[in-house]
């Protein structure tokens, strides 16, 4: 689905953020990228979406190395970035409009999805009338409607309160299981990463040369209680300790 091959990237000449980084993501996987702020998580996202191009190395999407990636990856940013002058329905339709779908048929396509995404009845509301959790749902729906099988979610729940966050995590997993999308999920919340993912990539020192990869030993469907299993608690400890070390540096 997605493959980084010896990717090097930096904004300055001698200031590489990524150095010879390689990794692959298989179709249908849910992968979390964990690291402290400034560790290069967002840089990886900018490269995957095509907003930036690697200095050296190749990024292959669907087996096409270094092809056009803009418009081929669904992206959900940290802030919802909904357009305040568009209703919920119009916001969700945005990627379809950009892809050239006529307004009427875009609306027809999106309306049933609003129901499924728990947004029924809000289609004519403006974003300012919605709660934070609802806005994130719209933003996620918008990413899904880009029609791309690879979705990048950049700390989507970091601005939500703790209770809403838990509910949204479960909601997200349900949506994901139903659609068999491939998800790359940035977070700094270790528990969130373990609950959601098949694999966790941890970013250590800069420049990033490789990830510390952790396979989450849980099947699906999962419940919150699974997080209390001893092996998961141990993993969590290990991840937290590693992150703390990074902060010490």
């Amino acid at each position: 689905m997605l493959a980084f091959d010896n990717v090097t990237f930096g904004y300055g000449a001698n200031d590489n953020i990524l150095d010879q980084l390689s990794f692959t993501v298989r179709p249908g996987e849910f992968i979390s990228i964990v690291g402290r702020s400034g560790s290069g998580k967002s840089t990886i996202f900018r490269l995957v979406t095509g907003l930036d191009e690697p200095s050296t190395g190749t990024i292959a999407l669907d087996g096409h190395p270094n092809g056009q990636r803009l418009g081929k990856v669904g992206y959900m940013p940290q802030q919802d970035l909904l357009l305040p002058w568009r209703t919920v329905l119009e916001n969700a339709c945005l990627p379809l409009e950009i892809a050239g779908t006529k307004k009427m048929s875009a609306h027809e396509q999106v309306l049933p999805l609003l129901q499924e995404f728990g947004l029924a009845g809000t289609e004519n509301n403006y974003p300012d009338e919605l709660s934070g959790g609802m806005k994130q749902r719209v933003a996620f729906l918008r990413a899904v409607l880009s029609g791309n099988p690879l979705l990048l979610l950049d700390e989507p729940f970091s601005a939500l309160d703790a209770i809403t966050k838990l509910a949204m995590q479960e909601w997200l997993i349900e949506r994901w299981e139903k659609r068999t999308a491939t998800v790359l999920f940035i977070t700094h919340d270790v528990e969130e990463a373990l609950f959601l993912s098949d694999r966790v990539f941890m970013l250590r020192s800069k420049p990033v040369t490789s990830f510390e990869e952790i396979k989450v030993p849980l099947g699906r469907p999962r419940s919150r209680n699974d997080l209390h299993r001893p092996e998961i608690l141990q993993l969590k400890e290990q991840l937290l300790r590693a992150l703390r070390e990074e902060v010490m540096l």
Binding site: L51, Q79, L81, P84, W85, L94, I98, A99, D128, S146
Partner: protein, 246 residues
Amino acid sequence: MRNASSLLIVLAFLSVWEIGARLADQAFILPSPIQIAIKLWDLKEVLIINHLPVTLLTIIIGLAISIVSGTAIAVWMFANPSVRKALYPILIASQMIPVIALAPIFVLWFGYTIWSKVAVAVLITFFPITVNTFDGLASGKKETEELLLTMGATKKDIFLKYSMPTTLPHFFSGLKVAVTLSVIGAAIGEWLGAQAGLGYFSRRMMTQFDGAAVFAPIFVLTVVGIVLFVCVTSIEKRLVKWRNIN
């Protein structure tokens, strides 16, 4: 009623004026509101048929030129950073020029035609429209533009679907200021040289020591300003309706 308190203040002001004017009893210098109202009624045909259309035309042409050229230059500055660097400081500095004092030069250039008045109106309405529109365009968030890029948006998509709607409220703020100024610009333009128009009429009556007839066209000009302002506000409400929630 929503504006009851404002109305009360205006009524109080008019009453004080009326009483003061009657006590002073020099109608040619200080006419009372009632005298002005009577004069307005007497002059209604002259003012509305002969002079209002001339002034209104000046205002509308002036505004139209300012809107078209102001938004064009704003978009140009937004699209091209070197144009912005060159023009923006000049634009700000140009506001230090006492534009009104320039008005006589337009009479030299354009004579007593409508264009000398239009030029004054354009010169004072151009700035608020251009600067507000530009600031609106520049207020767009980079993150949102990048999000649209990840959806495969072209530059045109981003401009039409993001930059323009972002700018609309700013544009209307500029337009509201411009509409008010345009009335002033047209009237001043007419003082300096005209054969018709509300500003011209008011000034001519001054030379005849007819205080009430000086005030009557000013009243009409005020109404014109208010009506234009209300028009702009209602268009804004319709186009920017998402702002009226909460």
